[in-house]
Subunit: 453 residues, 2 copies
């Protein structure tokens, strides 16, 4: 009852009006008619706009051109491009060529963002690449969602998006639109899903088409062993639709559903706008350990490359700092439009003296010999020999300066991925709270700064 | 050859002259004759003086009075004391009464420190308490050591003593005199022992009388499972003569033998006298983390009680400090004549903010509920819920002041043993390097300060 009212309000705000959906379909149909007429090729209206599971204002039209199975790859690439170009030209659309599995065209027609993507018309078992699977996903979702469920799918997308959990890019690592639709179809609706989801466990398996009646076969268990959440693709029994989702995001989703169930209100469908001042962030920083902020140019690559590389870079820096015994409290990074920054909250200074652990004494004299040849001031503590030595680095700053100096190739050898290496090699330390709105928001979120009341 | 010369030199310095041993024996024989004559009781000349394995200057005479097996406990206690008192009176000796298994007398006769100890004359299998075993130990050692080996036993004692490893009290936790003698008898001599000992492993078992031909029975393996070094008592197959030895001291002994083997010289038989100035210790402290030194009165108990209690106290303080996330680099304690001090080298300050770990999100909503009821500013990181909270204590000093305040009984409940609790309750923080020679030596040793060259 209460939820129904909230639901209506959300739909009002985020679900497209019928006219909007009709407009999009009419544009699709015109292009489709042109392609069928000119080239005798079937098309498919993929994407959420095609099946009425998009948010209002979403003007994307994904048009897939289906080539017969025996078309040669070269032909599909050439003709795929030609078809796209001619279609854009025919409708006076501006376009450009993009590259995925095959090259394709992308541009504007009548105010819609249109993609014309060539793929093979094959059954799911015979797909040659991921792009051939898309029409099947699209078809499955259309056939398995009624009107109310389509709206619930959009509600779910909004619910996730407000929590930073909508998207299956390597930046976001959370829910794809297709995954949202599968879950709504499987559980029946948003509310039903929410009630189930708070109880999801580690390695939860959802198999909507019941491909694996008696539980996953061993081979799939192994394949999915690193994935916290497994949703078997209705059109491909060996694929986990949720494979890109990180364990952290899976946990966040469960947590968010649990919060929602305790208070099913509008707030879960609105962006949380924190208004945190520079002063408040500075106050927060004073209450914490030392801060080091490293700043460098944004790496030149797409987000699906930058984000995994930045995560790897951060892990690497954490590891080498911890090897040097610097105590780390918090880390993070932010890729802004221009600047990329790495945040390290840590004990930035260590005593000059440290103890170097040696072998256990009763593990044999050869180890004692090696150790005492290497170190001078040795002694026994517990069951080991130790050496008292001077630390290489007492300051984390000095260590990072040295670790990240040298040629880009050296950095790569030290475990910094290439695109990041090219930029981080010229990093500089900067004040923790510079005058940068985006970064300030990031810090406030990262450091859990609460708005002053 | 070289070693033989060194050996002769050590013997010259530490082995008693024949006259010294003869004098002691003659005193023993006079007392023994008196006791046999007056009471018809057999005696035994126990202790290292009795068997010529003492160091020169050692004036101890341990005289055991052997009572028949069927003597009642009450009788042995009364008559044991009477015999002792009369003997001291007869030889014009001053004495006092001490308490071990039975009360006994202890005093001076002709410049010798004499103990007259009553025990049962029983075979090793029938002993009623540890004191009855001593004459058997003594007898075994006498029968199994030739003249040269007796000297080697003394060399071994000196070797260990110079490294702080001679003594089986709960303070020292290392080698008893009897253990030294067993090892010399078993390996044949000091040099032979040294060569073997550097290769001793964890859970080494030495069984000189080969009581357990096929290896230790399971029950004994379990009994000795916490003991790094097992030497089966020649007169009691179920007893480990080395049971009091700590793993650290076992490691130190192996290490010391290994050092000796590489350079068999006099330096291992001399006390190492460090001449470290207050200034040098202060310099060392500047190169390290924060120092807290807690000072209180020496606990009122014997060393065998104080030392285990101090070790337990230190472990307890380490544990509670680490629970509070203070990072500890070094700890120690020193029981001086008057003052007892605890040393803590640590990061004495922590940031105000900390993260409180909560349950994994997918372990069930009931855990989420409990956690969020308790904490306000919660968030998800990795697979867990966490809370951002203020630390109870940012200063280790303030924490220790609170932890050790209150009544003695409260301290005992917090895990501080009674005798220490009575004194530590009035502790105060003191400067790390006060004007105290003994403490300075302790610090120099603990912090491995090298003498300036």
């Amino acid at each position: 009852m209460e939820w129904e009212r909230v639901r209506e309000k959300i739909i009002e705000q985020v679900y497209p009006e019928q006219k909007e959906l009709r407009d999009a379909r009419s544009v699709y149909e015109k292009i489709s008619a042109f392609i069928e007429g000119e080239y005798g090729l079937e098309t498919h209206f993929a994407g959420s706009t095609g099946r009425g599971t998009c948010m209002s204002g979403d003007k994307d039209i994904d048009l897939f051109v289906l080539f017969p199975r025996d078309t040669e790859r070269k032909t599909i690439e050439q003709q795929g491009l030609t078809v796209g170009k001619k279609a854009f030209e025919n409708f006076d659309g501006e376009y450009q060529v993009e590259y995925a599995e095959h090259p394709y065209t992308k541009g504007q027609i009548n105010g819609h963002e249109v993609e014309i993507v060539p793929c093979y018309k094959v059954s799911p078992e015979n797909i040659k690449s991921a792009v051939d699977r898309t029409p099947h996903h699209s078809k499955w979702a259309s056939e398995n969602l009624n009107q109310r469920q389509k709206k619930d799918a959009v509600i779910l997308k909004k619910f996730l998006d407000s929590g930073g959990l909508y998207g299956s890019s390597l930046k976001v690592q959370a829910f794809s639109g297709y995954l949202c639709e599968i879950l709504i179809a499987h559980f029946g609706g948003f509310k039903e899903l929410a009630e189930e989801a708070e109880n999801w466990r580690e390695n939860e398996v959802i198999d909507p088409e019941n491909h694996h009646g008696g539980g996953l076969p061993q081979a799939l268990k192994e394949k999915f062993s690193d994935e916290s959440f497994v949703v078997i693709d209705p059109v491909d029994p060996e694929r986990n639709v949720a494979s890109v989702m990180s364990a952290q995001n899976y946990s966040r989703v469960i947590h968010r559903f649990w919060q929602f169930n305790r208070d099913p209100s509008m707030k879960f469908f609105q962006e949380e706008e924190r208004e945190i001042s520079q002063f408040e962030v500075k106050q927060e920083i004073d209450r914490r350990a030392d801060f080091l902020v490293m700043e460098f140019e944004r790496p030149e690559a797409v987000e699906d490359v930058i984000y995994p590389q930045m995560r790897k870079t951060l892990r690497r820096l954490e590891n080498v700092l911890e090897e040097k015994q610097f105590r780390i409290f918090e880390t993070g990074f932010h890729v802004g439009e221009e600047k990329t920054r790495i945040l390290l909250e840590l004990e930035a200074s260590l005593p000059e003296v440290r103890k170097q652990k040696g072998p256990k004494v009763f593990h044999g004299v050869e180890h004692l010999e090696q150790f005492t040849e290497k170190y001078e001031n040795t002694f026994i503590e517990d069951e080991r020999i130790w050496a008292k030595i001077d630390r290489d680095y007492t300051e984390a700053k000095a260590f990072l300066n040295d670790f990240l100096s040298g040629e880009v190739e050296e950095l790569e050898k030290k475990g910094i991925p290439d695109h990041v290496a090219k930029k981080i090699v010229e990093f500089r330390f900067t004040e923790a709270v510079p005058d940068d709105e985006e970064w300030l928001k990031y810090l406030a979120e990262k450091l859990k700064v609460k708005e002053n009341e």
